[in-house]
């Protein structure tokens, strides 16, 4: 069992508040990812769950029990550190078996269980090596082995893949998912990389400046960001935000005109009144229009990045350039006039404070 | 041709260098009082000899002074003219080749003709003279006349050693203060022999240490008697043992306890009247001529008592002196009445020249003048090469007594073992 609930959890260092009342619920067996830019408090939150940092205010419950003052080793939580924190003077076997050794588990029992874990993590040939003689991926697996030998109900990962190269990361992601499946433990995983978050998580918690911006599953976050921060943080390239005005609401159609003068008609949204808004369009919701097709946006290119199977086109907006991600290869020198069609159903409207405005039914 | 040129160039250069140095003779001196005494007469010696003199300061404690001198002499550097604390060390220096034979210069000086016979006797070994005697150290017992009289303890000359120890015990009983100090132990350095052991040995049943063939008779009755006397002092608790085991053993008993009346009798030299407790002291005893009296050293069997006389800091010329002739000239000039008077004033020793007594300077030293009469009873103990080792061995033997690690026989054994170990069995009788 490993259901985690954070109730208005706060953390201050000196007078400085770094976690400003976080409410989070993670169901047993979920793979949850804390994501956010550096300094958002995600690692601090993780360390509070681990018990390595005191909780300044609020409650942390594990399976309904308040854990605020329970010491780390009694929480039945394991943690994999960013730099792995392997004990450099111990062999792989000793590293993995350390927690059992501390509990005075019989030597034979330790050996058996370490053997099992090593088998699972393909570490058997390295059991007698010291960490300094291992590759990055192997060290990572030792750190994981050290965590799962305790059979914890919750495993915490603090940016575990940041020290690995790109190819290895993809492989380790798969291994982590397999690990999640086979242990059934609740996993909380901290990263600043939204791709990692999207590919791994059952549930993503987006954090900014010590506050939870939004909690949802990956596709929910992508489709229905609750604010401009989440909207721009999730997805790559990031969502375009155009300053705009609601020009008219006529029946089922709302006409919005961007400050650059482009008129865009959207399905009516409850509660939307005339006035300034921000129009959010993901780059992949823009398409290049053929000369005979209708198009909302007429502009010129600033730059085009050709990736072969698709092209990222930066275009003039009067302010910060917009970006469109279109399929196929297009050679468009800087200053080429282009026309872009908008998918009205994929547009997001935010008020001037950055909060999403959308129909209750949606 | 080239070689010849080089050689003459070097010769010229060294000749030049010698000339530069020739006008300066460096004299080693230590302890502020002695340096002051020397500085007072340096201009006079320079005028007399036409040679510049540089006084170089050396470390204060005798042991460190000698160590530094030896290290420098060994390396062929060091001062041109220097002194040694007592005649005990001279023979070890001359046999090591550190000293220049100055027989002609000393005998040719007018100082020699006016010297007390005992000074001449001490300066000359087998017809050779290495030193210009300047001062004589006269050692005996000094006691607090005022304190003993008030306590009703006799101040008469003790007849023998038993009388002396009984007097000390009586004084301790009546006053509650430590009553008798004689230097013992290793840390007092040469003083353990010169200011203590020697005094008793010269008045023991066998008053010499050196045999006719130059070996040391350390198993003699006299040596045993001295250690036995020490043992009695320690057992009777008349001697303050603690300070004697510290690194500067003389400081507390001599400069603090004796002036305060917390120590009643001690061996000392004439300088105590000037330097330790007199006008040159930091802690002077008021009315010292009446407050402090002297006893000669009694004889073990009650024979005539005596005082111990020794050459004090006689001057000598280093064999590695830059200009030996100039140094000899300076040495000859250092036998002057003025120099002896200056040292008498500052350090309280007695001039070795009889005619120095008549000088106004010496006559002002009222505490010293009466002591001169006792010079007739002066005795000394002969020394031989290796004597420094014997002195160190005596320090070790007496230290064992102080610590209660050995009795008199044990202390004597330590002395014998130490000397045989260092000098070889054949040097010990």
């Amino acid at each position: 069992m490993g259901t985690i609930v954070l109730n208005q959890v706060r953390k201050s260092f000196g007078g400085h508040e770094v976690i400003k009342g976080a409410d989070i619920r993670i169901e047993d067996g979920q793979f949850a990812v804390f994501v956010g830019p550096s300094g958002c408090g995600k690692s601090t939150l993780l360390r509070m769950i681990a018990g390595l940092e005191d909780i300044s205010g609020g409650e942390f419950l594990l399976d309904g029990k308040v854990m605020n003052d329970v010491s780390p080793e009694q929480r039945n939580i394991a943690m994999v550190f960013q730099s792995y924190a392997l004990y450099p003077h111990m062999t792989v076997a000793e590293n993995i078996g350390f927690s059992l050794d501390l509990k005075k588990t019989p030597k034979a029992e330790i050996k058996r269980r370490v053997g099992e874990i090593a088998e699972r993590l393909q570490l058997t040939p390295y059991l007698n090596r010291k960490p300094s003689a291992l590759s990055g991926g192997q060290r990572q697996r030792v750190a994981i082995g050290r965590a799962i030998i305790k059979e914890p109900s919750v495993i915490l990962f603090d940016e575990p893949l940041s020290n690995l190269d790109a190819a290895l990361r993809v492989q380790m992601r798969a291994e982590l998912q397999e690990l999640h499946r086979s242990t059934g433990a609740t996993i909380i995983y901290v990263t600043h990389d939204q791709v990692e978050a999207m590919t791994l998580a059952d549930q993503i918690v987006v954090l900014k400046d010590g506050q939870v911006m939004q909690t949802n599953d990956p596709i929910g976050l992508y489709k229905e960001p609750e604010n401009t921060f989440v909207a721009q943080f999730i997805g790559s390239p990031k969502m375009n935000l155009f300053p705009a005005k609601v020009e008219s609401v006529a029946g089922d159609v709302v006409r919005i005109r961007t400050d650059a003068g482009w008129p865009i008609d959207l399905p009516a949204i409850e509660g939307l009144r005339a006035g300034p808004v921000q129009l959010g369009i993901r780059p992949e919701s823009l398409t290049l229009a053929a000369p005979h097709e209708p198009a909302e946006i007429e502009t010129r290119t600033v730059l085009s990045e050709r990736l072969g199977m698709e092209t990222y086109i930066s275009f003039e907006t009067g302010g910060e350039p917009g970006i469109a991600r279109v399929p196929g290869d297009h050679s468009l020198p800087s200053g080429t006039p282009i026309r872009l069609a908008v998918d009205p159903s994929a547009c997001h409207i935010f008020d001037n404070d950055g909060r999403a405005i959308r129909s209750q039914s949606a | 041709m080239k070689t010849k040129l080089m050689v003459s160039a070097i010769a010229l250069a060294s000749f030049g260098a010698t000339n530069v140095w020739a006008d300066t003779v460096r004299i080693a001196e230590h302890r502020q009082a002695r340096i002051d005494a020397l500085n007072a007469v340096v201009p006079m010696i320079e005028e007399q000899t036409g040679i510049d003199i540089e006084v170089i300061e050396y470390p204060g404690p005798d042991k460190e002074y000698i160590s530094k001198l030896l290290t420098e002499l060994r390396a062929g550097t060091g001062p041109d003219v220097f002194s040694l604390p007592s005649s005990g060390e001279i023979v070890d220096f001359s046999t090591a080749g550190y000293l220049v034979d100055v027989t002609a210069e000393v005998k040719g000086s007018d100082a020699w003709d006016n010297m007390f016979p005992i000074a001449r006797e001490l300066a000359e070994t087998d017809g050779v003279i290495y030193t210009m005697p300047t001062m004589l150290a006269m050692q005996q017992f000094y006691f607090r006349n005022d304190v003993l009289t008030e306590a009703g303890v006799s101040t008469d000359q003790p007849a023998d050693w038993d009388a002396l120890i009984n007097r000390a015990i009586e004084a301790k009983e009546k006053t509650g203060e430590y009553s008798l100090l004689m230097p013992m132990g290793v840390t007092w350095g040469g003083g353990t022999y010169i200011e203590s052991f020697r005094l008793l040995l010269a008045n023991s049943s066998t008053p010499e240490l050196v045999t006719e063939n130059g070996t040391f008779n350390l198993t003699s009755d006299g040596v045993r008697e001295v250690f036995e006397f020490y043992q009695k002092m320690i057992e009777a608790e008349v001697v303050p043992v603690d300070p004697l085991l510290g690194p500067d053993p003389w400081v507390i008993p001599k400069y603090e306890m004796f002036p305060a009346g917390e120590l009643l009798m001690t061996t000392c030299g004439s300088w105590c009247y000037i330097f330790d407790w007199g006008p040159e002291s930091k802690n002077p005893i008021p009315d010292i001529e009446n407050a402090v009296g002297t006893w000669k050293v009694p004889n073990v069997n009650g024979d005539a008592p005596s005082v111990l006389v020794n050459l004090n800091h006689p001057w000598m010329v280093s064999s590695s002196a830059v200009d030996i002739e100039a140094s000899k000239k300076v040495l000859a000039a250092m036998g002057s009445i003025e120099l002896m008077t200056s040292y008498a004033q500052k350090s309280g020793n007695l001039p070795s020249r009889a005619d120095a007594i008549e000088s106004d300077g010496f006559q002002q030293l009222t505490a010293l003048v009466p002591l001169l009469d006792q010079l007739e009873d002066g005795r000394s103990v002969a020394t031989a090469p290796g004597f420094s080792t014997v002195m160190e061995g005596i320090g070790r033997g007496s230290e064992a007594l102080l610590l209660g690690n050995a009795d008199a026989a044990g202390a004597q054994q330590i002395l014998v073992d130490y000397v045989s170990n260092i000098l070889g069995e054949d040097m010990v009788e």
Binding site: S83 | L70, T95, P247
Partner: protein, 280 residues
């Protein structure tokens, strides 16, 4: 060619003096007397004498206790303890730091002078004044417990150095290791024994190498406090060499002891260096 300057320095300051010492040790050279003027070559006589010289063996034993208790046990344990305690932040930390480091900055002779007034016998001694408060009679500290006192003074002097070294060793251990150990269920003591100590081993060996060799060579501190006495109770080998060479003036014999001491130091040094390589 590149090694020439260091080769010259090595020769001038290490090999040549060692050679002179070894040669001197095979003569009866003395500072005084006839053997100063004409020293004789006597082969290994000094060494055979040395092996039956019980004072020499006693001084080796004293040196062993002195090094063991002052450097290896006292300074190391207390230095490590202070390094651990002073790693935490607290109000008086700079003050304690200074107190521990100060003795290290004091020259040996000055430290000895301070302590000789501290440990003086009789009621004048500072320590005696202090213990009098607790109703203890005045003690003859440097006479009754000479070696222990010298050890205490040397510990007092050396904690700072040990602390600095241990401190650098400790700060090389990542804080994450302790967090990992906490997560693994280690108590503070278990973390110290299973993480801190094993990871400090190289630092500890380095410290032992330096401190053993320097402690054997200590001179000024002991000479100024006791001159090796009373009755040789504090005569560590360095003092014995001095006493033989400059107290008894036996330079040849003193050199022989010095050569033996040099060999001992080399053996100890090699042992530590080997141990250092094996570990981690």
């Amino acid at each position: 060619m590149l090694v020439l300057p260091s080769a010259i320095l090595l020769f001038a300051f290490v090999l040549y003096p060692s050679g002179v010492a070894i040669y001197t040790s095979m003569t009866n050279l003395s500072l005084t007397g006839p053997a100063a003027l004409n020293p004789r070559f006597i082969g290994f006589d000094n060494y055979t004498k040395l092996f039956s010289d019980h004072t020499f063996w006693r001084s080796l034993v004293i040196t062993f206790w002195f090094v063991l208790f002052s450097a290896i046990i006292g300074q190391l344990v207390l230095g490590l303890l202070s390094a651990i305690l002073l790693k935490r932040q607290f109000a008086l930390r700079p003050f304690f730091n200074a107190i521990i480091l100060m003795p290290n900055a004091v020259p040996g002779v000055v430290a000895a002078l301070m302590w000789s007034s501290m440990l003086a016998s009789g009621e004048y001694g500072t320590l005696n004044k202090i213990v009098a408060w607790f109703g203890v009679d005045p003690q003859r500290w440097l006479v009754t417990f000479p070696l222990s006192m010298i050890i205490v003074v040397n510990i007092w002097r050396g904690i700072g150095f040990a602390m600095i070294l241990m401190n650098s060793g400790l700060s090389a251990i990542s804080e994450e290791l302790y967090e990992a150990a906490r997560m693994d269920g280690a108590t503070t003591w278990q973390a110290f024994r299973k993480i801190t100590l094993p990871l400090l081993v190289p630092t500890i060996f380095l410290y032992l190498l330096v401190s053993t060799v320097t402690t054997i060579a200590i001179f000024a501190l002991i000479y100024a406090l006791t001159r090796g006495g009373p009755a040789g109770a504090t005569e560590i080998v360095g003092i014995y060499i001095y006493n033989q060479s400059f107290g008894s003036y036996q330079l040849g014999y003193g050199s022989a002891i010095a050569v033996v001491l040099l060999i001992f130091s080399l053996i100890i040094g090699t042992f530590y260096v080997r141990a250092l390589k094996v570990e981690v």
